[in-house]
């Protein structure tokens, strides 16, 4: 049984580690108004470079740290130069999406190089612990504290007393004005990316040593924790990021002390959502409002959408409708069923992210809510599967909208962070609410799809069912977009301030969009649950949220037909080319990057 002092020490040490990530995020946000979702990947790279150094090269500790910092900084510079600088004049959300794509690529490269299995990362320090008051402290704790404090000091000196440091501060306060003083903003960007990456990489190394284990799942966790700490401290506020990190470390550590380990992340994300809703500028900002203009604007690139004639669509639907009657393999049907399920999710996301401009990064949570609702209703209350799926859709619509509604006043990147956090919260609640969701064991033995008492067992019947549901949802959505409501949605997306000035109630319209979108996603999740017959808290994860986002960008944001074309393309092409599963995420990341860079309006164009 550990003492409170132990929990405090642990919280501060972990907080120090978070601070190394969060400070980098804050520096980058300050200069480019960008939340760098690739920060966790650099942390991951740092951990694995550290492993190579320690285990294979047997470098002494100081050299290991320097080596990791240098390689990570190099990765950061490459990301800035080739991933982000070309996007300087794009819409605001483009660099954010690019960092997501970069993080997928980096994570997958690490996974392919080192395999996804966890590895031990020895700390190279003696394993002794000193008694301090009622707790204990070890050399590694001291090392982490030392690295944290000295990095903070170095950064302070750099920002306060060097010319480049002044340029960084000036650029983060007023980029244009800084340029007018002769500051080369590209150089400033490079500097902050280099520093942020070096700190992030070292952080990954230290964490690996602290837990004596590294694995590829670290990446997303680190990004999320860093973002939480940064937003709590006030986006772009470097000292705030340090305080936010320590606070987060303590909150988590005490939370674990009281409730147990599986609650650790839940506290982190609840803290984030509370701060976002109550004080979007962070705990230390004076003004109670989100940073203005630069964060607004969505990814809608102006374009002339490709008009597909009605008869063309009808022919396509008919062709796909009779497909099971043709001699096609089970494998093809299976693939297309997945495409239809993803298509429903994409319909939902293209409405929310495209039509009304709320770029959601937590859409998989809607799948999960629909899936669990439908599975539990049919399993425990013997509700007919068809009804259960509809109930799942309704539950997703209601619960999803309710959960997101406190964040309706957020804009731009903040919407993305909030939805990401809400997605994580849903998955953590599923994990921890064992009495209902059966926790980590998951739900097995979910009854198969059935309609009016007939089980849909054959692939053809499942195919028809999924396809029909998707087509109906698509038709409904197309109707919706052509109506007055659809125009109001787009007005909100294009200029929420003006829309409000015209008397459009943002909350009502955002709710309507999430209700409709939640239903479509919930139905997709419900069908999936009965199809898979087993689900757990990880079945619907952030990767799927990002995949869905890639699909809708590929199709053209807001474009109904595009969402479905995108789903078929992203599910189908890897199958056609027989790309091994472990390369797929890599490909999705690359597709996302290429789209953002070269064809932001997608295949069929944004609407």
């Amino acid at each position: 049984m550990s003492s409170w002092l132990d929990y405090t020490i642990n919280g501060l040490i972990v907080g120090n580690v978070y601070a190394l990530v969060a400070v980098g995020l804050a520096l980058i946000f300050g200069v480019s108004r960008l939340i760098n979702f690739a920060q966790g990947s650099i942390y991951l790279v740092g951990a694995y470079i550290g492993w190579v150094a320690v285990v294979q090269l047997h470098t002494p500790l100081p050299l290991t740290i320097i080596f990791v910092a240098a390689v990570a900084a190099l990765v950061g510079l490459i990301i800035e130069r080739f991933g982000l600088r070309p996007l300087q004049n794009s819409v605001r959300i483009a660099p954010l999406l690019a960092t997501i794509g970069i993080s997928f690529v980096l994570d997958q490269l690490v996974m392919l190089t080192f395999s996804p299995n966890p590895r031990a990362l020895p700390s190279q320090l003696p394993d002794v612990r000193f008694q301090v008051g009622g707790g204990t402290i070890g050399p590694l704790d001291l090392l982490i504290a030392g690295v944290g404090i000295s990095s903070a000091l170095l950064l302070f000196v750099f920002l306060r007393y060097t010319k480049l440091g002044w340029a960084v501060r000036a650029a983060s306060q007023d980029r244009d004005a800084a340029m007018q003083m002769g500051v080369d903003v590209n150089r400033v960007n490079q500097t902050v990316f280099g520093i942020a990456a070096a700190l992030g990489g070292v952080s990954g190394l230290l964490v690996g040593m602290y837990y004596n284990q590294i694995d590829t799942a670290m990446s997303l966790q680190a990004t999320l924790k860093g973002v939480v700490a940064e937003v709590v401290g006030g986006a772009g506020n470097v000292p705030g990021a340090v305080v936010g990190s320590l606070l987060l470390g303590l909150v988590e550590s005490y939370g674990v002390a009281v409730f147990g380990t599986s609650y650790r992340n839940l506290f982190a994300f609840l803290l984030l959502v509370v701060v976002l809703v109550l004080r979007p500028n962070g705990l230390f900002a004076s003004a109670r409002q989100a940073p203005p203009e630069p964060l607004t604007g969505t990814f809608i690139a102006p374009s002339r959408p490709v008009r597909i004639p009605r008869w063309g669509l009808a022919v396509a639907v008919a062709l796909f409708g009779i497909l099971p009657l043709l001699p096609v393999s089970f494998y093809v049907l299976q693939t297309l069923i997945n495409a239809w399920l993803l298509g429903m999710l994409a319909l939902s996301l293209t409405l929310v992210a495209g039509t009304i401009g709320q770029v959601s990064l937590g859409h998989a949570a809607l799948l999960a809510i629909g899936a669990y609702t439908s599975a539990l209703l049919s399993l425990t209350l013997s509700v007919p599967v068809g009804l259960a799926i509809i109930a799942g859709g309704l539950m997703s619509a209601a619960l999803g909208t309710l959960l997101i509604s406190p964040s309706f006043r957020l804009r731009g990147h903040y919407v993305s962070i909030a939805t990401l956090a809400i997605g994580e919260i849903v998955s953590l609640v599923i994990l921890n609410w064992e009495s209902v969701t059966r926790g980590p064991i998951g739900i097995s033995g979910i009854p198969p799809l059935s309609l009016f008492g007939y089980d849909l067992i054959s692939p053809a019947s499942v195919y028809w069912f999924a396809f029909a549901v998707m087509v109906v949802l698509a038709l409904l959505q197309a109707r919706l977009l052509g109506s007055h409501l659809g125009r109001s949605f787009r007005a909100i997306r294009d200029d929420d301030i003006a829309a409000r000035a015209y008397g459009i109630s943002l909350n009502r319209y955002k709710s309507l969009a999430f209700i409709f979108g939640g239903f479509a996603a919930g139905v997709s999740g419900g069908i999936a649950a009965h199809l898979y017959s087993y689900i757990n808290h990880e079945t619907f994860n952030t990767q799927q949220s990002i995949l869905a986002l890639t699909v809708v960008i590929l199709g053209g944001l807001g474009n109904v037909v595009g969402a479905i074309v995108g789903a078929v393309a992203l599910v189908g092409l890897p199958e056609i080319f027989r790309i091994a599963a472990e390369y797929r995420i890599l490909i999705y990341g690359i597709v996302l990057l290429l789209l953002v860079r070269f064809r932001p309006q997608g295949l069929l164009g944004t609407i």
Binding site: R169, Q173, A178, M179, Q180, M181, G182, D184
Partner: protein
């Protein structure tokens, strides 16, 4: 005021500027003679600030030429243009709000590497703007509008520019400060710095300017020696016309 035409320091010729589809400048041509104060007058949305941005390289013209000291500025980045000797006092001042007054002023010398001379110039600024002396360690964002204008001007002078471009330096200031700012602009000019300023306040600006241009929805409709324009009824008309169009 001199009437002989000095050699041109800055020249815009036949500049056409667009924001997306919308054209902001139509064959804009403006010349700033070395040692002169040149004023660009115009109503709201006539394209004055965009002219500043063209000079500073913050916005690229679709066609036309911008030359400074005999060399083209087209294709140069803003920092490169600043290093050529153009300093700016942007619209609404744009100080670095969370940096101290001292740091703001020194940021103006960012392109310089002669530390000792920079320190001397800082002292010189404090004689030119005595009020700033007591405010050096204060956050720039906490200053009054007039004080911020002083900091912005001091900051611009710190790079030892040969040309300062100013966007509405008297905007939002009390009459007392307006006089002071205009007086300072004249002082700066007498020390050899050319000035290109954008103003809405025509009568005051024409008091200190050598030459003036009147911009109306992106076209120069009048230009000439300030003294001649001061009494020209068309200045007022063009002016009101511009304001109406906005």
């Amino acid at each position: 005021m001199t009437t002989s035409a000095p050699e041109p320091l800055l020249a815009l010729s036949d500049v056409n500027t667009f924001y997306g589809q919308a054209q902001v400048h139509f064959d804009l041509s403006i010349t700033v003679g070395r040692g002169h104060i040149v004023c660009l007058l115009g109503g709201n949305a006539s394209g004055k600030s965009t002219t500043m941005k063209i000079i500073l390289g913050l916005v690229k013209p679709r066609s036309g030429e911008v030359t400074f000291d005999g060399a083209s500025l087209i294709g140069l980045t803003t920092p490169q243009i600043v290093r050529r000797g153009i300093a700016s006092v942007p619209e609404a001042r744009r100080l670095f709000a969370d940096m101290s007054v001292r740091e703001n002023i020194l940021m103006g010398a960012f392109v310089r590497n002669d530390r000792d001379a920079v320190a001397q110039d800082l002292d010189r600024m404090l004689t030119l703007f005595p009020k700033l002396g007591q405010r050096l360690s204060q956050r720039a964002g906490s200053l009054s509008g007039g004080e911020q204008q002083m900091v912005a001007m001091a900051r611009a002078l710190m790079s030892r520019p040969s040309l300062i471009v100013m966007d509405e330096p008297t905007m939002g200031l009390s009459p007392l400060y307006v006089d002071r700012v205009l007086e300072l602009i004249r002082t700066i000019n007498q020390e050899g710095v050319s000035v290109f300023m954008v103003e809405q306040n025509a009568s005051l600006a024409l008091e200190i300017a050598h030459e003036a241009y009147v911009l109306q929805t992106g076209k120069i409709v009048l230009s000439g020696p300030a003294r001649a324009l001061k009494d020209d009824p068309r200045v007022r008309d063009a002016y009101l016309g511009g304001a109406e169009a906005a």
